[in-house]
């Protein structure tokens, strides 16, 4: 399938302690701040129900401050209204983060703030302390794995041909806040240089797995993963190592040059916010072929014929498919959008 125009639902998980988030139905734009909150330090636990002499279930009646409110030292959190009043006050400046089932209060100091940005133009269809979900319409291209935080910016081509590797010298500060399309491969040097130049994100057929380890650490896996910290964003479309882009995937990048786009890391998807009519939707991406040594992925090109059960160099017997690059096992040929 490849490029597809349609409605997409994107979930944005929120860290703890959100202080603002949009209402359901609100319209948002990719890149806009969607929700913000505070980073919390080690909280102080304050005896609540016991100190006030009330049952935990009755605490609602005497609590003066809602969970999630910023408080200053001395703020009355709860107070009984008798003649000899008893009160629970915040011992520090911070945030009232939690009230336990047994009636204790937790106030944590604020050590910083966080912001989650939208990676889709559209309307908020769910909004709670765990996640904000946005539904919208865009051109989209799914990849195999993405790394780093979500990215937003204008698309810009960093290569001249779909089989080219993104050369580090092609990346400079003029690409600041843009999403750069990198052809068949983006090496670690190009990734780190792009990050240093303030490039928002990188999209390519493949990235070397070793390079990803250099950039993201030894824990990196083939499934990718979203991070919130300041790291480069990389979307691998076909696989790892080298992945020359088929023309059916690359040509739309040329058409989308300069358009706003977003990389949603959790779903490893690139969204381009452009009119539906800009592209011929019938451009099906060709199938992909995994090389016999698993070293790379390439698009299936040219005439193919089934060869029946074939013996391969590894002694494996399997249905084969004759391609212009030789016979490959049929299971090593998958449609672009096959679940992987």
């Amino acid at each position: 399938m490849g490029w597809r125009y349609g409605r997409w639902v994107v979930e944005h998980p929120l860290p703890l302690a959100a202080s603002s988030r949009p209402e359901v139905g609100a319209l948002v734009r990719a890149g806009d701040a969607l929700a913000s909150g505070t980073l919390l330090g080690s909280p102080v636990r304050i005896a609540g129900a016991r100190r006030l002499g009330v049952e935990p279930g009755d605490l609602d009646r005497v609590t003066r401050v809602r969970v999630g409110t910023d408080v200053t030292r001395g703020t009355v959190l709860a107070r009984t209204g008798r003649r000899f009043a008893r009160a629970v006050t915040a011992p520090i400046d911070g945030r009232f983060v939690h009230r336990s089932y047994e009636g204790d209060f937790y106030v944590a100091p604020v050590t910083g703030t966080w912001t989650v940005r939208a990676s889709m133009d559209g309307a908020v269809i769910r909004s709670d302390d765990a996640a904000v979900t946005v539904e919208g319409t865009a051109w989209a291209l799914g990849g195999v794995a993405a790394y780093g935080p979500d990215a937003f910016g204008e698309l810009v081509l960093g290569v001249d041909a779909p089989t080219d590797e993104l050369a580090p010298v092609r990346v400079d500060v003029r690409m600041h806040d843009r999403i750069v399309v990198g052809g068949a491969r983006i090496a670690a040097e190009a990734i780190t240089r792009a990050h240093a130049c303030g490039v928002a994100g990188l999209v390519a057929g493949a990235a070397p797995a070793g390079g990803l380890r250099v950039v993201y650490g030894d824990e990196v896996t083939a499934s990718g993963g979203a991070t919130v910290d300041d790291r480069p964003t990389v979307l691998c479309l076909l696989g790892f190592g080298s992945g020359p882009l088929p023309a059916e995937l690359y040509r739309p990048f040329v058409a989308f040059d300069g358009r706003r786009a977003a990389i949603d890391v959790a779903s490893a998807r690139l969204f381009v916010f452009a009119p539906e009519a800009l592209l011929d939707a019938s451009l099906d991406a060709p199938a992909l072929v995994l090389s016999g040594d698993f070293g790379g992925v390439r698009p299936l090109a040219g005439e193919t014929t089934l060869t029946g059960v074939t013996r391969f160099a590894s002694d494996a017997y399997c249905e084969g498919l004759a391609t212009q690059d030789g016979v490959v096992p049929v299971p090593n040929v998958l449609p672009y959008d096959a679940p992987r």
């Binding site: 703890l16 302390d129 824990e219 083939a222 698993f294 590894s314 490959v328 299971p331």
Partner: protein, 502 residues
């Protein structure tokens, strides 16, 4: 002339899920005797007529554990998680150094499907309640919220249940007792089965295979290395089963997770030629994202064999953490299934089992062909669920499908030790420390080594009797210049060619 009508034939299908496709076995049942007829590999959505039994891995269940600080609990918790086939994403103890907010953030970030709160006695209830509060802060807003399973001392468990307001809570027996362990594994399997309530999980099929083989009279170990999971199951002759199912850890879609645990050098050391780390990692990542990929070249096959080695040894390491390593390593019969049994040559399977398990005891080695034993395991699970006797129904077919490939005899020879095969001295190979060779033989064989306690009987197959004097634990030289000739020698000992150079 009178004739007796032929007994009716009940035809069924058993689908054993592979990574991307399924192995579809046709099964006939006549007079309560069931036998596998033939198999094909098809797409999972390929239509089929009649009754179908699906054997699959089920869904992934991410488990977080909240537990007391006592060190004794560690093994119990690990046993419970390993028996259930769950993915342990977080273990939070009451003495965890992280702050309340950090604990809550960890619980939110790891997104558990199920949280096991283990409260061994009332004195630890306060600490567990604090952890449950962190769970409330971290996950109460999530949709769907994780389920909470509370096990342990009953009064403390009720207190924790009350504290977990807003969560679906279940009380289970203490997993330190066998029935508690079974109950947790059962609950986890129900969860992994999801809406496909008729499905037989791969774990269940493997346990049935182990029971069926052990019922022939000898304790049996089943080693299953699949694309995304690795299992070790031991069954006693009376049907008692000890099992661990480790996911994600395997030679296919979990290849990257296996490398994450073992390290690149851990995997690379089993490959009999030099290969640089970036190239190897590229192959691992591509394999992990290509379900059902076939290793067309020798280098890819070598990678899968190396991954199977490490998956086995790390599953065994997990078993050791749960105090089960010896039980799950030393059985007189070892059956290899899954991807580790699907290599083109039996010798590859033998190397994975011998090196990965590193058992110091002799064993007869079998390997599953075309997932037939797993299909039998799936049938056995269904027959047992219907109240039948799997042994009576499947015993004959099992006998036919169970073909030994080798009798493995690990030994620590002395200076004057001699190998005796059926009483006759074998002098063609030198029995010295470090030796690894096979003696051609078929059928039942008695093996003894003079000057050592080794005196064992087993059944040899196409690989004969494999004599392994390399010592335990198996140590490989770290430098390629010494490592490669060593691994090549082991391959050559089982007549395996080493063709590729990466």
């Amino acid at each position: 002339m009178t004739g007796e009508a032929a007994p009716p034939v009940r035809r069924r299908t058993v689908d054993v899920a592979l990574e991307a496709r399924v192995r579809r076995w046709t099964v006939d049942e006549v007079d309560r005797r069931t036998s596998l007829i033939d198999s094909v590999t098809v797409q999972p959505d390929e239509p089929v007529d009649g009754e179908i039994i699906r054997v699959g891995s089920g869904g992934v269940m991410r488990v977080a554990v909240l537990a007391g600080g006592s060190a004794d609990l560690e093994q119990v918790l690990r046993r419970a998680v390993l028996a259930s086939g769950a993915d342990l994403v977080l273990l939070l103890r009451v003495n965890d150094a992280r702050s309340f907010v950090e604990r809550a953030a960890a619980l939110r970030d790891t997104r558990p499907d199920l949280v096991l709160a283990m409260v061994p006695d009332g004195r630890e209830a306060d600490g567990i309640v604090d952890l449950v509060e962190a769970l409330r802060l971290g996950c109460a807003a999530r949709t769907p919220a994780p389920r909470l399973v509370v096990a342990g001392e009953s009064r403390a468990a009720l207190r924790i249940k009350a504290a977990a307001a807003g969560f679906a809570v279940e009380l289970l027996p203490d997993p330190r007792r066998p029935e508690g362990l079974r109950a947790f594994a059962h609950r986890a399997r129900e969860f992994r089965r999801g809406t496909d309530t008729d499905a037989v999980l791969r774990d269940e099929a493997l346990e049935e295979v182990a029971r069926l083989v052990a019922a022939r009279g000898r304790d049996t170990l089943v080693l299953d290395v699949a694309g995304g999971s690795t299992s070790l199951v031991r069954a006693g002759t009376h049907g008692a089963v000890t099992a661990i199912h480790v996911a994600p850890l395997g030679a296919g879609t979990a290849a990257d997770r296996t490398v994450g645990r073992a390290g690149l050098d851990g995997v690379r050391r089993w490959i009999p030629w030099a290969i640089d780390a970036p190239t190897l990692l590229e192959r691992v990542f591509n394999r992990a994202r290509w379900p059902g990929a076939v290793a067309a070249e020798a280098s890819a096959l070598a990678l899968e064999i190396a991954l199977a080695h490490e998956a086995t040894s790390h599953a065994l390491a997990d078993a050791a953490g749960a105090g089960l390593a010896d039980v799950l390593r030393d059985a007189p019969v070892t059956v290899v299934t899954g991807a580790a049994a699907s290599f083109s040559r039996a010798a590859h399977t033998a190397l994975v089992a011998i090196d990965g398990l590193g058992s110091p005891r002799p064993t007869t080695l079998y390997r599953d062909a075309d997932d037939a034993l797993l299909a039998l395991g799936g049938l056995a699970a269904r027959i047992r669920a219907e109240g039948g006797d799997p042994q009576a129904a499947l015993g004959d077919d099992l006998e036919e499908r169970l073909v030994p490939i080798a009798f493995v005899a690990p030994v620590t020879p002395g200076r004057r030790s001699k190998l005796l095969v059926n009483g006759a001295a074998h002098l063609a190979d030198d029995l010295v420390p470090g030796a690894f060779f096979s003696v051609p033989h078929h059928g039942i064989v008695d093996v003894a080594v003079t000057g050592t306690p080794l005196k064992a009987r087993g059944t040899a197959g196409e690989l004969g009797v494999i004599v392994d004097a390399r010592g335990r634990p198996l140590v490989l030289p770290p430098r390629d210049a010494e490592r490669i000739p060593t691994v090549v020698r082991w391959f050559a000992a089982l007549d395996l060619p080493v063709a590729s150079t990466a």
